[in-house]
């Protein structure tokens, strides 16, 4: 996909305006998945703003965001970084053959207490 078109698409899908960001880093400071992320929430914002999107699309960080909305809630400029992470993740898994998880993966994930909610949530996040 053409880079500028991809950038435009991400901004349209997410409704995020990365230019509002003042890079205070509060989103990353409050992120419960911070330690497991290669790119942190504030980097998603700046990298999408700069059109540096390929590294984000290849990063495992996409699958570590919990969508807990901590960064959305605590951003002093209402940038809402989680929505941008979600948009990049969708841009990846919407591609043919790019599903992160398939139904065949499920039996191995089950234990006797696994709530249905865990599987449907993971499926929605990792699969199109």
């Amino acid at each position: 996909m053409n880079k500028s078109y991809l950038q435009e698409d991400l901004l349209r899908m997410s409704g995020v305006n990365p230019r509002k960001c003042m890079q205070c880093g509060k989103c990353s400071a409050t992120c419960p998945a911070y330690d497991e992320m290669e790119y942190h929430p504030h980097q998603f914002v700046s990298m999408v703003k700069n059109g540096d999107i390929e590294p984000l699309m290849k990063s495992q960080s996409l699958y570590r965001c919990l969508t807990c909305f901590a960064c959305v809630e605590r951003c002093p400029r209402s940038v809402e970084p989680a929505k941008l992470v979600e948009a990049v993740r969708l841009a990846v898994i919407r591609q043919q053959g790019a599903n992160r998880m398939t139904a065949n993966d499920i039996p191995a994930l089950l234990d006797e207490d696994t709530p249905q909610q865990l599987l449907v949530s993971a499926f929605r996040k990792y699969t199109k």
């Binding site: 349209r12 899908m13 997410s14 409704g15 419960p32 998945a33 330690d35 497991e36 699958y63 570590r64 919990l66 969508t67 807990c68 909305f69 901590a70 959305v72 809630e73 809402e80 989680a82 929505k83 979600e86 948009a87 969708l90 998880m101 994930l109 234990d111 207490d113 696994t114 709530p115 249905q116 909610q117 865990l118 599987l119 449907v120 949530s121 993971a122 929605r124 996040k125 990792y126």
Partner: protein
């Protein structure tokens, strides 16, 4: 009072206690939960992308079903509540999204975002009232120190969920007080347990879940309550050494509806 009720997938399976006690307690409090017919799973997580339409249709149909009966819609599971409420909000504020959705709604009628959505806790606080609840308590939970675990989905994003102060909530603590117990306030009560990431990165879920449990214990709690089956699963699976129970179970105990209340 009759209200439309959406139990959701997990309350029909692994979280049956959350559902069963919710229904029994509502009856005692003068509210009948009428389960929406032919409901479908909400999907567990709200997809924030504006161009995701199909993934939100089950929530819209649910909201429309409640509207057709002129009833508010009540949820119990934190995740269901988050998905349904965020979808309702999108129907209210995003005309382009609403127009796309309504192209799928020929059989059910167009939906306009007008259904009132209550989480069961809001029903207790705003419709029943905690003073009335207190009067209905037959088995006050005196001496119990209980930590309310909100997690992420009940409160955030607060601009949409509008349940309580997202950083200093009181809705569950006030319920605990009404039931005669003592609420324990601790820093991690509104931080995420790790959610669905436990399928991919159990270590991350373990770290987050244990931080919640340890924090609650350090504040003196001897029990944790939650509204979310996934929170409960993550906390218990990762080694919580104090009981983690659904808030409806605690409610049932205080209202004298639980058979093993004196254990």
């Amino acid at each position: 009072m009759n209200v439309s009720y959406f139990p959701g997938c997990t309350l029909k399976n692994k979280a049956r206690d959350l559902d069963r006690y919710a229904r029994q307690c509502a009856q005692v409090l003068g509210i009948t939960l009428e389960e929406v017919e032919n409901w479908q799973c909400c999907g567990g997580v709200f997809t924030t992308a504006k161009d995701e339409v199909a993934t939100k249709l089950s929530s819209v149909r649910l909201l429309q079903a409640a509207k057709a009966k002129e009833q508010p819609l009540v949820t119990v599971c934190s995740a269901c509540h988050n998905v349904v409420k965020q979808t309702n909000h999108a129907m209210q504020i995003d005309g382009e999204f609403a127009a796309k959705v309504n192209r799928y709604m020929a059989d059910d009628g167009e939906y306009d975002g007008s259904t009132q959505v209550y989480h069961y806790l809001e029903l207790l606080r705003d419709v029943v009232g905690y003073d009335t609840l207190k009067d209905k308590v037959t088995n006050p939970l005196k001496g119990k120190k209980i930590a309310a675990y909100y997690g992420c989905l009940l409160l955030r994003p607060s601009s949409v969920m509008s349940m309580d102060d997202p950083e200093n909530p009181t809705i569950m603590e006030d319920m605990i007080r009404a039931l005669g117990a003592t609420p324990v306030v601790y820093a991690n009560r509104n931080e995420c347990c790790g959610g669905y990431v436990s399928v991919e990165s159990p270590a991350l879920a373990k770290k987050n879940s244990l931080a919640v449990v340890e924090d609650a214990k350090a504040a003196g709690a001897d029990m944790i309550i939650t509204a979310c089956p996934l929170c409960r699963y993550n906390l218990v699976k990762n080694g919580a050494d104090i009981p983690v129970v659904y808030f409806t179970e605690l409610l049932a105990e205080a209202l004298g509806l639980k058979e093993d209340a004196n254990e």
